[in-house]
């Protein structure tokens, strides 16, 4: 037989034999159709909830332009807006904050800051119509600069036919605004990562049950190291997950395009292509880290019922991981974020969020190596535990033997 005798190639080949069997068995089973349809149910529920929410928020929190001008100019501005609203779309909703007496001045910034946090007024229009001033966050003032100039020009007719120059006072710098938007991108990516991982990682929990129920575990254990069985099963499920992701991605994109557009997010700090690549890598590691843990836990379960019982705490664990990573996102650069990066299960979430906010790539290299090491250690530990508890191999786990295993030292003969 022409076979390689290198230990690594033998190990890798074993992994691929297990992985290809599992991958094929899942992909070509009827249940895979249900697996693909699975996300439709939450998407449907989210869609329903989102539709209701959008309708509510559309009425309640449409951004409004506050007006703080002299009374005559205020009336002229509102009349001009009404005249234009029939022919020009996307004119700002307005709200009279204060009618000033002639010659009276207003501190627009302090007026805006005093506005209640739930107030729909996000920017303030002040100053004379001939030279209006817009005060507010960068995004809003940029959006309303043109329409305000148009309305002011209409209000000034027929005395003036020129387009007045609008002075802009941005309360949040462009840089800060971008950072704020990137955090939204980071939050969205973390949420997507969590949803996908939650959907997929739990599936590996029942993966060893088939082998134990069919008694084929003996055949596998005699032929290949248990680590290879664990790795193979995880890789197979990762492959299935990526197939699922591809299908859902294509379908989702088609639906969004047909529905009129893709939700806009601020470009991540590392750029979209690198962010997508890192997203794929961190999804894989988030899945592998959680999956290896679940595979170990599921492997130790004796029956399907036990696996089902374990599913709920497993979901809770996933939620905790997500909450921790989300909390760390609000404390970037602080020890809590470092802790989230170092803790294996939250590391992919935190690093993906970091990719949205910080442009440095080097930390990602370190994180990927760290996460790969953690996956290897969890699988190695899981396989050892499986051999000792399920296969009844080796002496019972004691503190000394555990440390010998950890340090790679062998017991003297």
């Amino acid at each position: 037989m022409n076979m390689s005798h290198s230990a690594f190639s033998r190990f890798w080949r074993s992994i691929m034999v297990i992985a290809s069997r599992d991958f094929g068995a899942i992909l070509f089973s009827r249940s895979f159709i249900f697996f693909l349809l699975g996300p439709l149910f939450p998407v449907f529920v989210i869609g329903m909830a989102g539709g209701i929410g959008a309708s509510v928020s559309g009425k309640a929190v449409t951004p409004v332009l506050g007006i703080a001008m002299e009374a005559a100019e205020t009336d002229a501005f509102l009349a001009a807006r009404d005249r234009l609203s029939g022919s020009v779309a996307h004119l700002p909703e307005t709200f009279i904050v204060i009618r000033l007496k002639p010659g009276e001045r207003v501190m627009a910034r302090s007026l805006l800051e005093r506005a209640k946090s739930g107030s729909p007024v996000v920017a303030l229009l002040s100053g004379p119509l001939a030279n209006p001033k817009l005060t507010g966050p960068g995004g809003s003032v940029d959006m309303w600069k043109g329409p305000v100039a148009l309305i002011a020009a209409e209000a000034l007719r027929p005395q003036s036919s020129t387009l007045p120059s609008v002075t802009v006072d941005k309360t949040i710098s462009a840089r800060a605004d971008t950072a704020r938007k990137r955090i939204r991108t980071a939050q969205a990516s973390q949420t997507l990562l969590f949803l996908l991982t939650m959907l997929l990682a739990g599936m590996v929990m029942s993966n060893m049950v088939e082998e134990k129920a069919n008694k084929i575990i003996e055949v596998l254990a005699a032929a290949v190291p248990m680590d290879a069985v664990f790795f193979g099963k995880l890789i197979a499920m990762l492959g299935v997950s990526l197939v699922g992701l591809s299908v859902w991605g294509v379908v989702g994109l088609a639906i969004m395009l047909a529905g009129g557009g893709i939700p806009s997010f601020a470009p991540p700090a590392v750029g979209w292509p690198m962010f997508a690549l890192l997203g794929l890598v961190y999804f894989s590691f988030a899945y592998l880290l959680l999956g290896s843990l679940f595979l170990t836990i599921g492997g130790l379960a004796a029956t399907v019922r036990e696996v089902q019982t374990l599913s709920m705490p497993a979901t809770m664990l996933q939620l905790l991981v997500f909450f921790f990573a989300s909390y760390a996102l609000g404390a970037m650069g602080e020890p809590i974020e470092l802790a989230a990066i170092l803790f294996p299960l939250t590391s992919p979430y935190s690093m993906l969020a970091r990719a949205a906010v910080e442009p440095d790539l080097l930390p990602h290299l370190g994180a990927i190596v760290w996460q790969a090491l953690c996956v290897t250690l969890i699988i190695k530990g899981g396989a050892t535990l499986f051999r000792r508890t399920v296969m009844k191999s080796g002496p019972a786990v004691s503190r000394n033997s555990f440390f010998r295993w950890l340090t790679g030292r062998r017991k003297p003969a």
């Binding site: 033998r10 074993s14 069919n214 008694k215 055949v219 596998l220 032929a223 290949v224 296969m391 191999s393």
Partner: protein, 336 residues
């Protein structure tokens, strides 16, 4: 009637390689395994010469499967050493080993030919080559018609045969079969015996466990008897049988006479209604002096047979003796 021999006659045969055994396929020394504090295998020594058929015999729960699982690296011994085909790590030479576990198992959705190829692939055989050889093996053993049938659609015997063929597909140098005859009908058992003999003729080492001694008696040159986790006998089948003296069955016209002195004291006569007597006893000395004494002493021999002890008798005697010895040791342990 089989007599239990004197314990001193049962010195454990040395498992060290004899001059005539040649290279060893398996060499295990002092294997010990405990499960939850209970000792399952207690200092087992086994040596299996390459190219032979070796049987591991023992009652259920004796430690046969645990021993095989340790030899194959499925579980690690608590202490002791093992060398399989010259390697301390059975997984490193997995491509040279075939294994049929006692608890049979294949993926139910797999077709027979794919199941064979999958087990071959686990042992390093390319999948396509495995399918080709799998089909050949199924044809050769008369199961070509189920090659594309799923395991779940097969009878238990068919599935078991598929798994057996899967252990051979990568042409291993060593085949380990754990209770291979259990669950098979008589015809399949005969077929399996033929298969095992054929493998040994081709130079493959076959080691199998069984508690059905007739298979071992027909197939094996060497055996190890395991009882209570220990190996009270290890060696040639003929040596095991020779541990018991030949059994004499004698029918005489006369019940008494000077010839009775040639018979051992425990040889009690069973009187026949038609006259004369029956004697069953172990032959402790030579045959010729006994015959001379019977003829010259006027016993009136009507029938005489002298039979070598069978493996079953030898096993019962050896395993029983070992159990008694273990009991004594337990008692000694308590006394200490």
């Amino acid at each position: 009637m089989t007599k239990s021999p004197n314990p001193s006659e049962f010195a454990i045969a040395s498992p060290a390689p004899d001059a005539d055994t040649g290279p060893l396929a398996i060499e295990a020394r002092d294997l010990v395994k405990r499960f939850d504090g209970t000792i399952a295998v207690d200092g087992v020594d086994i040596s299996v010469p390459a190219g032979t058929i070796f049987g591991i015999l023992g009652p259920n729960g004796a430690g046969k499967t645990t021993t095989l699982r340790m030899l194959l690296g499925i579980i690690d011994p608590d202490s002791g050493t093992r060398r399989v085909l010259g390697s301390d790590n059975p997984h490193a030479i997995a491509h040279r080993i075939g294994y049929l576990p006692e608890e049979r198992g294949l993926y139910p959705a797999m077709k027979a030919v794919d199941a064979i190829a999958f087990v071959g692939a686990l042992r390093g055989l390319p999948r396509d080559e495995g399918r080709r050889r799998g089909r050949e093996l199924l044809e050769e053993y008369g199961f070509g018609h189920i090659a594309d049938r799923q395991i779940r659609q097969m009878s238990k015997g068919q599935a078991q045969t598929v798994q057996l063929l899967a252990t051979l597909v990568h042409k291993p140098d060593l085949i380990v079969l754990d209770e291979p005859f259990s669950g098979l009908d008589a015809i399949s058992q005969g077929r399996l015996e033929k298969l095992i003999r054929g493998l040994a003729i081709d130079g493959t080492t076959v080691i199998f466990s069984t508690h059905v001694l007739s298979h071992a008696e027909r197939l094996c040159e060497r055996i190890a008897i395991i009882a209570g986790g220990k190996v009270p006998f290890h060696g040639l089948v003929s040596t095991a049988r020779d541990r018991l003296p030949p059994q004499v069955h004698l029918e005489t016209r006369n019940v008494d006479g000077p010839w009775r002195a040639a018979l051992p004291p425990e040889a009690e006569p069973q009187l026949r209604s038609t006259g004369g007597a029956l004697f069953d006893f172990s032959l402790t000395g030579e045959v010729e002096p006994l015959l001379t004494a019977l003829i010259e002493g006027g016993a009136g021999i009507q029938a005489l047979s002298i039979e070598r002890a069978g493996l079953h008798d030898a096993f019962v005697a050896i395993a029983g003796e070992a159990a008694a010895r273990a009991l004594e040791q337990d008692a000694e342990g308590v006394a200490r």
